[in-house]
Symmetry: C2
Subunit: 205 residues, 2 copies
């Protein structure tokens, strides 16, 4: 039976749903109890970045070796660069009892439970497709064509929400944050994480 | 796939852990969204009580008929009277989308999931056995012998916490209430209850 082990929280959402904002607020609330998983990349370190803070920086050969060795929880390539999540640091943080957040693409979400069956997978949805489109337009960073493309991808991703454990609507930010906090707290109260507590109560006679 | 259906929350705890106080606070917070399950009894209605408020009042023959017909979720007899939970009103409240609380003895908890596999079973524990004993003594209602007996039963019951989904410690009342609220909220966000939401988001284009 597992005890005092941290929770792994996997978060995915269509682009524009505000998943990064929600999770950064949750991380703020949890302080030292929680950590965001750090990705590994083959792209060069940029000014102001640091090893193990923004990314773990490795060569393409090293990255491929990690894939071969089964060290990666998930990975993807963009252009000539690889990006992915190494298993080891996630495992270490969980052993320390931390809540670990893994923000990943819907594509990569499927594999996590093979390695961490206890992971809680949260899918964040917008209040409506109309609102999502408004938000994407509001950012002012995408061309009309890019927005149409993003909306198509969002639809495909929403159809895969069924692969997740929980759905959180990000309409009012504070409510979405509170919902994620409830999922984490409920996870911590699951009997498998409370074995020590029961033992503690019973021996403290 | 289930949708908009309410959650069934089963709560058990050793005597003196404050489960009734915790649940009445939670019911206060949830207002119309939630209901406490009403038991059925063969004992006579007392002054000030009302049918369907305190209990459903039936004859011993009627009660036995309900047992035979498989209408009861759980039941027990004390002296010459029967007490139990009829399935039908619980089912009806769940269909209305309500969160239904069922406060039952550790003994009766085992059967609920056979009829309501989605039920969330919460076990409330005291901070320590010492504190439990202090609380029982503080009530001033039990003889020394009765307290020793209650403590023995409490130990046996704590050993059965493993049959529950969640463990909530009732040390600080407000924290216990907040923990139960988190379990309920997380339950409502489970993908099987969010199917309609996803559909709503996708069609509202």
């Amino acid at each position: 039976m597992m005890n005092k082990k941290g929770l792994l929280i996997v978060v995915s959402a269509p682009s524009g749903c505000g998943k990064d904002t929600v999770i950064s607020k949750v991380l703020e609330k949890l302080g030292n109890e929680a950590s965001l998983s750090i990705s590994m990349t083959t792209r060069a370190m940029r000014p102001g970045e640091a090893e193990g803070v923004n990314y773990y920086y490795v060569s393409v050969d090293q990255f491929k070796k990690h894939i071969e060795n089964g060290d990666m929880l998930e990975y993807a390539s963009y252009g000539s660069n690889f990006y992915g999540t190494p298993i080891k640091p996630v495992k270490d943080m969980l052993e320390q009892g931390k809540t670990v957040f893994l923000i990943i693409e819907v594509e990569g979400g499927g594999n996590v439970k093979k390695i961490f069956p206890e992971a809680k997978k949260i899918f964040i949805v917008p209040p409506s497709m109309e609102e999502l489109e408004n938000r994407l337009r509001g950012r002012g960073t995408d061309s009309e064509e890019a927005i149409v493309k993003r909306m198509e991808i969002a639809k495909t991703e929403l159809e895969r929400a069924i692969e997740y454990d929980y759905v959180v609507e990000n309409d009012v930010l504070d409510e979405a944050v509170s919902d994620v906090m409830s999922i984490i707290r409920a996870g911590q109260l699951e009997i498998k994480y409370m074995q020590n507590k029961i033992r503690e109560v019973m021996t403290n006679a």
